[in-house]
Symmetry: D2
Subunit: 283 residues, 4 copies
Amino acid sequence: MSTLSDNAYGKSGIRLVRVARRGARHELRDWTLAVRFRGAYDAAYRDGDNRDVLPTDTMKNTVYAFAKERPFGAPEEFARALVEHFTAHNTEAQSVAVEIVERPWSRLPGAGEAGTHDHAFTPAPCRRHAWVERDAQGMRVRGGVSEMVLLKTTSSGFARFRRDRYTTLPETDDRILATAIEASWQIEGSRALDHDELWATAKAAIEESFGAHFSRSVQELIWIMGNAVLARCPAIASIHLRLPNLHHLPVDLSPFGLDGRGEVFVATSAPYGLIEGTVRRGT
Amino acid sequence: MSTLSDNAYGKSGIRLVRVARRGARHELRDWTLAVRFRGAYDAAYRDGDNRDVLPTDTMKNTVYAFAKERPFGAPEEFARALVEHFTAHNTEAQSVAVEIVERPWSRLPGAGEAGTHDHAFTPAPCRRHAWVERDAQGMRVRGGVSEMVLLKTTSSGFARFRRDRYTTLPETDDRILATAIEASWQIEGSRALDHDELWATAKAAIEESFGAHFSRSVQELIWIMGNAVLARCPAIASIHLRLPNLHHLPVDLSPFGLDGRGEVFVATSAPYGLIEGTVRRGT
Amino acid sequence: MSTLSDNAYGKSGIRLVRVARRGARHELRDWTLAVRFRGAYDAAYRDGDNRDVLPTDTMKNTVYAFAKERPFGAPEEFARALVEHFTAHNTEAQSVAVEIVERPWSRLPGAGEAGTHDHAFTPAPCRRHAWVERDAQGMRVRGGVSEMVLLKTTSSGFARFRRDRYTTLPETDDRILATAIEASWQIEGSRALDHDELWATAKAAIEESFGAHFSRSVQELIWIMGNAVLARCPAIASIHLRLPNLHHLPVDLSPFGLDGRGEVFVATSAPYGLIEGTVRRGT
Amino acid sequence: MSTLSDNAYGKSGIRLVRVARRGARHELRDWTLAVRFRGAYDAAYRDGDNRDVLPTDTMKNTVYAFAKERPFGAPEEFARALVEHFTAHNTEAQSVAVEIVERPWSRLPGAGEAGTHDHAFTPAPCRRHAWVERDAQGMRVRGGVSEMVLLKTTSSGFARFRRDRYTTLPETDDRILATAIEASWQIEGSRALDHDELWATAKAAIEESFGAHFSRSVQELIWIMGNAVLARCPAIASIHLRLPNLHHLPVDLSPFGLDGRGEVFVATSAPYGLIEGTVRRGT
């Protein structure tokens, strides 16, 4: 005898680009969506009975139809509309989740508003995330950012750490710190919000705190960044940060009678430190 | 005021290749390891106090030293030795986890045992996984496989599913089914086991059940595969399977007066269905 | 005033999977194709005049229609049929080339012929290549292989090399040699050939010579492999080999009082040596 | 009997990050280098005789030593210094080439000069290229850019093209055009140049011409861009442009009684058009 648990199914990798034409001025949204249903689907697994299974192809079609029917705007709002539709029509689904990864595009220089081009764009290097999930507990909304690469050439150290018989790392109070931030935040309640503005504010808070502080570890940097976001964004209840430490190692030039400290580094991709933590309001 | 939770830190991407030279006959293990500590590390985050922080560089050094000192063998055993070492020396760590991803290599044809080469190898296309974690609840061991790509050209269908106004998918009882399986299983208790044999048996059970049954959905395939593994591997308590549906769509050749059904397909990478579930013993 | 040269255009990334159903026994071909035209297309570039431009979408359609109409078989034959079609109907194209990258699949174990499954498959880790090009000089056919990863744990060295003031590399007569071979060969004349057999023979010759010889450098290995292919395959006029040296470095365990030579290695991805050369018949 | 030709060897993937500390204001260069020697190396291939073979490890060491010894500046200058060094000391090398791929970083906002941060950076999404090669014909210098992604939501069409029996593509005079530009230009003579300024000017010329013109095909866009670069950069003799056409297809919403033309697109990654051409001065 055996039992089924943790079932989930859906469509991932739905690529959607929306254009809003406001006269000559065009707006652009570039999204990759994933839809996930969890629930009372035992018959499909155990008996091959698909009667309650909405095809993942239909999930994809729904996304495209909604892209025509729903207002052009923040991914959080679009995800919410999809979640409401799917929960209303699929009562077997005890949880419905939609994740949207947005590739932000910025305008090229041009003759339009504020010296920018009306319809030509180039992508920003990071990704924006929006998650909406509805289950018996209600609706939850998360925002986030990933692939947000930051580097500082100083104002970072790592010293006075634990040593054991396998420790060879020298202490340093001046090193390159490079990382690719993955952050995800829980949005308080379900108030109406300008999600685009919230995202920009949270991202700016991360960037500013990165540059503003000496960090004695990536752990401390996470704490500082997390608190900066909470301070600037009252709508955010908690934030999880996940930072790889993309080591830039000083090259040993002593065999050539040279000293390249502080000037010559090798950027490595493996191994890498990986540090994470959640900062939440309250005690 | 704010609080820290869900902290974790460690080293990822530790690349280790071990060679055992048994006379002319060499054995090879190719691993990528990750070490994770979770626990009472608030001082590091909040105060930049690193006194209890074992550097991730030391974790890496420990892996390499253990590769010399510990017996050559299954990744589960090596991970367990590391976990025991780290928990013994880092009491702040309420949880220590080690994950090993093994790239399996097979021997080239040659003049050695059973027509194989003594020291020349080529990689298998899938990956083996071993996870060991120790916390207050004790030690847990998981095995797994990923990037296990399987395709069948028939014996798969999808029909009699739910339809709504956005459904356009035609029913079929004969389609290509292709997937890249990610499976992870919980190993019962802590008995001594031949982990290499267990892994090979579980993998073979997945492969055999893939080819042996008509599948009316990926959901049903997960149920069949999961039960096949439980039937063949008494040491496995439960198995989680995660299968993308790598759609192979029939190409519409009707504009050219042709019918390519069953013969001509376009393999797509996005969007893709993603289906998962856990099968566990008992009711 | 300016001039146009080196123009080329076409469709890349055309994903085609063909199935041949010979009763219960199915055959599978998994291809990614690219079509390239070069020629008298100045009007398109200079004047935006598309009259002579066959859309790349049509190239893709032609591939799919041919997949229905042409015999199931080797990629070299299919590429040749496409090249002949395109050159016959596009006289502006002074050169037409078709490249096919085949993902080879092997059968799972099963109850069919020779203990293999009739319709369930798993992919091989390497890629097969076929190129056909026709221009004023006639038709040329090339075959090849890529992503062919091989590793030997011994029978490789590198010593007695040039030294200058920046040289620190120790000499060795026993190292791991790992590489991902990219080979491409020119097929002599236009005789009818069993291209599947030729490809398998050339690949086997590369594998066997890899394991059979001590190599004093990757350069020497290229020479040995190239000559092995020429010796086994009379239809091949010349072969180009391109081998990254995927360094496996001994880990220095001396800080821990250990010596891991020959046993403990770190596999690195960057930097890597890259060595290539063409071996051709005759003097 | 067989012959060797087209030999080449070197080190690729050399990761170098240089920091120049001008007081509190830091400058950053992030490079991946490749060094290639071609020449009279038959003895290494045919006889395993390494006497004339400078190890690729030494090439890497030389790069790091030069990073300390040579002035901080444009990659073209650094590559030239390396090429001169290697050709002077390795007379067997009939050709020495150095390629540098630069990841450009821009400053975060901050309290330094012009509202930018003194030592905190974020990467630009494109890559800069510099190639220097010396052989019997002398020294040649090329610059370039890759991964330069641009998209416009209108001002692009494709119509009045050739049709054959496999053509189904509808004509359009209003489509999304998206591409990831790869450009490489030949620099005239060997005059002293501000290579950083030249690169920025060429890149800006490409961007501006992308946004400024209606393009009737990617071919015409290449011609327009190439001429824009030649017009703005007298030091550039010719430019090669290679543009994938990253198709954004209108989604057919007619099954749902909707029309999403101009608003709802699916971004595809395969198949893709690939168009290239060289524009050079003179007739």
